[in-house]
């Protein structure tokens, strides 16, 4: 958040010079910024990384040196590590060092996962490896709910995605079992009221959703993914006031939905049949042209809505998508310069017309009244 503080500091100085903000007002704003400082500053984040690294170090040291120990002694050691982490968390909570206590909880979750792996190794268990990751994720979810730990919540989302991707890779089929776990974790995130948790929920769903087309119907069903994203984006735009009244998240929802819609169309146009594939005589198939038009229309609509609703994140994503799409089209149709130039000429005319329309729209909007 420090970039925000830098910016407001600059603006405050300007506003004070202009006489809009009094000295007392500026001090009050600064005090408010300090009091609302995110609980996830630099020190706690390093504490959490430290907890994870410390856990890894202990586990690999133990795993490398315990050949002389009996299995019972190894188990005792693992459980001592587990209970030690949670005991440390309790001590830190009591001293009000909450961020460090959550780091210790994260350490406990890391030891739990490492113990699952080490016990499996001790007894030469193989079974179905994704099941081990699921068990780990459920242990993390339990810690999330009971200890109300944002760090454990983040771990649960990561583990849920790893579990689902692993299972999907082994089975070569869509993995619907991800959704109940994702839903439960999402409810936990909403219940904790931790905003970054909702972003993690969205990101993990996007990661699950984007490759889904490879596993549906004829294994090239990316249009389903694109349609889901497009409908979600439309819903986020239309129902923005209703959504924002509840969680103030329609802007982020719109941005994530645009990612999904664009990814589906992009996979369909370029990835699924190979980025550099082209028929020697006809690289510009009607399908590719249609997909390109659809994709650019989607991105332009997203840009327009992002401009109108002041959604900077979605705007930059749409710019990035636009650049990627145009570059990929160029690479794919390389060699038929005449067709390519015709396409870019048409696209340039459409975009210019839109720019002119946006300019007119902007001109017609009444300036905001300022009480001097």
């Amino acid at each position: 958040m420090s970039w925000y503080r830098h910016r407001i500091e600059r603006d405050l100085a300007r506003w004070q010079t202009a006489g809009w903000v009094s000295e007392a007002g500026a001090s009050a704003i600064r005090a408010d910024l300090v009091s609302r400082r995110s609980p996830f500053g630099v020190a706690p984040i390093f504490a959490m990384l430290g907890a994870i690294l410390f856990g890894c170090a202990v586990m690999s040291f133990v795993a490398a040196h315990w050949t002389g120990m009996s299995k019972l002694a190894r188990l005792a050691l693992l459980l001592a590590g587990l209970w030690g982490c949670y005991a440390a968390a309790f001590g830190l909570f009591r001293r009000q060092l909450n961020a460090f206590a959550h780091a210790a909880v994260l350490g406990g979750i890391a030891v739990f996962g490492a113990s699952i792996m080490l016990i499996a190794q001790m007894y030469h268990m193989e079974g179905n490896p994704p099941d081990a990751v699921l068990t780990w994720a459920l242990g993390a979810l339990l810690a999330t709910v009971l200890v109300r730990s944002p760090a454990a919540l983040a771990a649960t989302f990561v583990l849920a995605v790893v579990w689902s991707s692993y299972e999907r890779t082994l089975a070569g089929a869509a993995h619907w079992e991800f959704l109940p776990l994702w839903g439960a974790t999402m409810v936990a995130a909403a219940w904790l009221g931790w905003r970054p948790g909702l972003h993690l929920a969205a990101i993990s769903l996007v990661i699950w959703l984007v490759p889904l087309g490879f596993f549906l119907l004829d294994h090239h069903a990316h249009w389903i993914v694109a349609a889901i994203g497009a409908f979600a984006a439309l819903g986020a735009a239309v129902a923005a006031p209703a959504i924002d009244r509840r969680i103030a998240g329609s802007a982020a929802l719109f941005a994530y939905a645009v990612i999904v819609a664009f990814a589906g169309l992009y996979l369909l146009a370029f990835v699924d049949e190979g980025l550099f594939y082209r028929a020697p005589d006809a690289p510009w198939t009607p399908q590719l042209a249609l997909l390109a038009i659809l994709t650019l229309a989607l991105l332009l609509a997203a840009m327009l809505w992002a401009l109108m609703s002041g959604n900077r994140g979605a705007l930059w994503l749409a710019y990035g998508g636009f650049a990627l799409e145009v570059l990929s089209l160029y690479v794919k149709t390389f060699g038929t310069l005449l067709d390519t130039s015709l396409f870019f000429l048409l696209a340039a005319l459409v975009v210019s017309a839109l720019a002119w329309a946006a300019y007119r729209l902007h001109r017609r909007a009444p300036p905001v009244e300022v009480n001097a």
Binding site: T67, L72, Y86, A87, V105, G108, E126, L142, A143, V147
Partner: protein, 190 residues
Amino acid sequence: MIDARILLSLAIVALAQTTVLGWMVIDRVRLLATGREITLPVVPVDPRDLFRGEYARLAYDVGSVPLWLLEGPRPRANAPFYVVLKKMPDGSWQAVKMTSELPQEPASPDRIALKARSSYAWPQDGPRETTVRVRYGIESYFVPEGQGRKLEALARERKLATLIAVDGKGNAAIKGILVDGVLQYEEPLF
């Protein structure tokens, strides 16, 4: 008050996770202690490359099963199914049947059902000799650091076999490794 709530929460988390780990161990020990024992010869796929790092990849004759032994519907990829092994007159085991559900085998010392998985898509059709690669969960053997090369040398020169424990639900676990029919590596339960 807050202290008590957090103490209780942390204790429940630690206890639940301990229970899971304890259950993993107890389930395994029960299988090793009470399961039926069979001996399966290890097939040296590539003897020079059998041991990688600290664990051995073990392959078995019964690890590839002819597709025509499947009775009933094809299992989904990576879903568990069952392979029935039959003891041959020479003492070796051979796959005789595959089913999606746990087969109700009459108690016989010559037949045993193993739970298996296959991570490859099941072939829809094919010649009679098409085989399915199956895993029984007994394909990895973790060895103490430094022991890998010793076992590797043994595998190159002698006959290796694994002693397997199998419970009533078809779960299998490695109990030990036999070299030339003599138990060399035995797994202590604890």
